[in-house]
Symmetry: C3
Subunit: 327 residues, 3 copies
């Protein structure tokens, strides 16, 4: 948000806590958070969880409106933000068919967000282009929450991943976290690794060589003194992993179909795989999955990926409440 | 819903009446209802109607969230459920563009519902494939309401049809109900006939021979001792019908266009047709209509098809309140 | 709405003020308003603005449901009505994918609105065909608000334009208002000119000759004694304009691309243009813009087009409250 821009109206509704941390701030990228920020967010997320379990929904954001602006579809993320807003008593303006909207008439993103902020109190933005959220935030007076900008950032996903690890494993410091799959193209694992590097963790990267974790981020880890290993086989690191984070290996990334088939099968998690894993390992996946974890695994108590979705709602409730000055 | 599956969180919000009939149950097919169930549902639907007429909306489901998951479009059904939830003070997560969502990335229905139930309290599902609702219910912990699964079931449509008959005719026992049109392909008339067979009714089936009511269900009626007649002309049975349920004869069902044109015109209900009908006959249609009933009929007090839409909202309000333990 | 039609149910919820002006009325075209009506609407809109600035949202329409029926997409208008309803505590049934709905199965508009009014309390309709809103209103018992019917009317846009002028300029009588761009095809400027002709104003029309303001409406202005001038250059009238209303010159209106390029550039408003304008001139645009006003102008205090969006929400809040008998 840009506090210096001329404001259509001095929106200062009664009861907003302007002194609250994160009040009026944008959520754009994981690099904006310090470790204390994360603790604070997760503390609020925990309160949200408690309230939801006790009463389902409550009126903390009653009267507040979220504009949910999705330039590309994402059922999961859009539904999660909608549920988060509704469980807080707020309302949502869903804008999901942007291809048919004024954008398709050629309107620029800055104009679209400056229109929507006349109606709404906060804007959640999903956009196919890197940097879209930052551009929107540059022009908007109201807070922008980045719900994914192309291969760029998806900070709320990274936050919910980290929150899942804390809640499931009870801590982060001291953990060994293994990231598996396409580690080259997945913004999810990049952001998660950066967040994890703020803690005392060991990281394992398991991927085909052609889909290895980016050198650039490995250098960042080195600078922060994070111990890491890169492997092409899961076997080597599975028994000493506290967390296994599985991602999709997308067919379209391969020029050679045979290579894809070989790699894909090598990284499928089945009940048999889990016999080699720690009894309390946390098995995660950002979903959707397409065969990377077999459905037989779903009933294993280590399978945390559906709980991960639920943690996501609490984290998004926390962020919405915080940027709107209510937490 | 599957109570034996591991639950992400023990969702037991304050105030839910776990002992309420239908609490936490799925609504999947008409065969799941006994006559006493129907009476109970219609009793609640009647209370809903009274409240709506008196106050418009009320907060029985305040804080509850419905995920409205439509894999194929249905304005009427989706709007009816949305209105039902909103008139009860609850909120809706609309998911209507599933072709662009994670489903199009290849996600399975079980994963989609297990994600959505992390956000919502009840899921309404419309799907083009027979058995989809049962599959969803097998994996979901939260109640699934089947809003149509291909040529399979559409139980809430059948319930609202029956409720319309009761409210308009004052009773069901003793009535003669005539079903007209394409009786072969319409799941609506199949389900309605099955529900009616739990009462003391006479049934007339009027259709072109090529679109006759299925033998299988006729045998079920025989077993239950329901008297029925099959005709190709409406004239024979119209004067002794208490209810006339009209359905569309869809062009695409015919290989011979001339046959379609002949049949289609034969079953058009006009003011002239109604001169041969009983003065208090109940004229129904599931809508949309495309010429099966002329617009001149709309002002005839026997035309019940728009009231039928309204009864539908009350039935869906009743079902939502019941499965969520609030009625 | 048609009060004479048989009503599915006597909807008379407690607390509706049947004696309120506009209660139960349709909003179809600007010609339906007298000057006193406009004063009344803008008075209510001003109250809405005050309430929104003070408390964000409030429960004036709690329990009321708006069916938002868009047969063609319009992010801006749909979002504005949704926000208006939600800030009044009401709910929305969004129906934006009509191409996939029962309409695509061939249902008529009268049937669609008669179905939706069984669920909702008011219907906002956007339709590509002239006269659609009137047709809908002829059949509906509930109020219809026309949100644009093809090249026909878009009355709420005209009302918000007028409200913007009043609020920004402090008055209307005595003003010189200049309309710029494609004045032939824009329903926006046609409706606005008609509304302005109820006041003591001077009008300037600046357009390429091929896109001149329609003779028919010029004759109406003459009959009402409104002074007007037509120009092809902005320079002549800019220095004496109190309001400059800019519209798009759409490429597809021109058979000769060279002509388009020449004309388009001639009407672009830049900071340089504004050096010739009055220091408190009100610069408006219905948005979306595609280059007619450069982004460098946005920070000029005269740039009123984003505030215009916000005024639109207040006007729509006022109209919704009024037709529902709550203001």
């Amino acid at each position: 948000m840009n506090a210096n821009r001329p404001q259509p109206s001095p929106h200062l509704p009664l009861g907003d806590r302007r002194d609250a941390p994160f009040y009026g701030r944008d959520i754009l990228e994981v690099a904006q958070f310090r470790r204390a920020d994360l603790s604070h967010i997760f503390g609020v997320a925990r309160e949200m969880r408690e309230m939801v379990l006790r009463v389902g929904s409550f009126d903390l954001l009653k009267g507040k409106i979220l504009a949910s602006l999705f330039y590309e579809p994402s059922t999961r993320t859009a539904s999660s933000f909608t549920a988060a807003m509704e469980r807080l008593g707020g309302s949502v303006i869903p804008i999901s068919e942007v291809r048919y909207s004024s954008v398709s008439k050629g309107e620029s993103l800055p104009d679209t967000v400056r229109t929507l902020e006349c109606y709404a109190d906060v804007i959640v933005l999903r956009h196919p282009e890197v940097g879209a959220a930052k551009l929107a935030a540059k022009y908007a007076r109201k807070p922008i929450i980045n719900a994914g900008d192309g291969v760029g950032e998806h900070p709320t996903q990274a936050l919910l991943d980290l929150f899942t690890i804390i809640e499931e494993a009870g801590r982060i410091d001291g953990l060994t976290v293994t990231l598996l799959g396409d580690l080259k193209n997945g913004r999810t694992v990049h952001s998660l690794a950066r967040l994890l590097s703020m803690y005392d963790v060991k990281l394992n990267f398991v991927s085909p060589e052609s889909l290895a974790f980016p050198e650039k981020i490995l250098r960042e880890l080195d600078e922060k003194g994070i111990a890491w290993e890169a492997h092409t086989e899961l076997e080597a690191v599975l028994p000493r992993s506290d967390v296994l984070y599985v991602t999709r290996v997308q067919k379209e990334r391969f020029s050679d179909p045979a290579h894809y088939a070989r790699v894909k099968d090598a990284y499928v998690i089945s009940p048999e795989t889990l016999t080699h894993a720690r009894p309390r390992m946390v098995l995660m996946h950002p979903l959707p999955r397409v065969g990377e974890i077999t459905m037989e695994v779903d009933n294993d108590p280590r399978a945390a990926y559906f709980r991960q979705m639920e943690y996501g709602m609490y984290v998004r409730m926390a962020l919405l409440a915080m940027v709107l000055g209510k937490a």
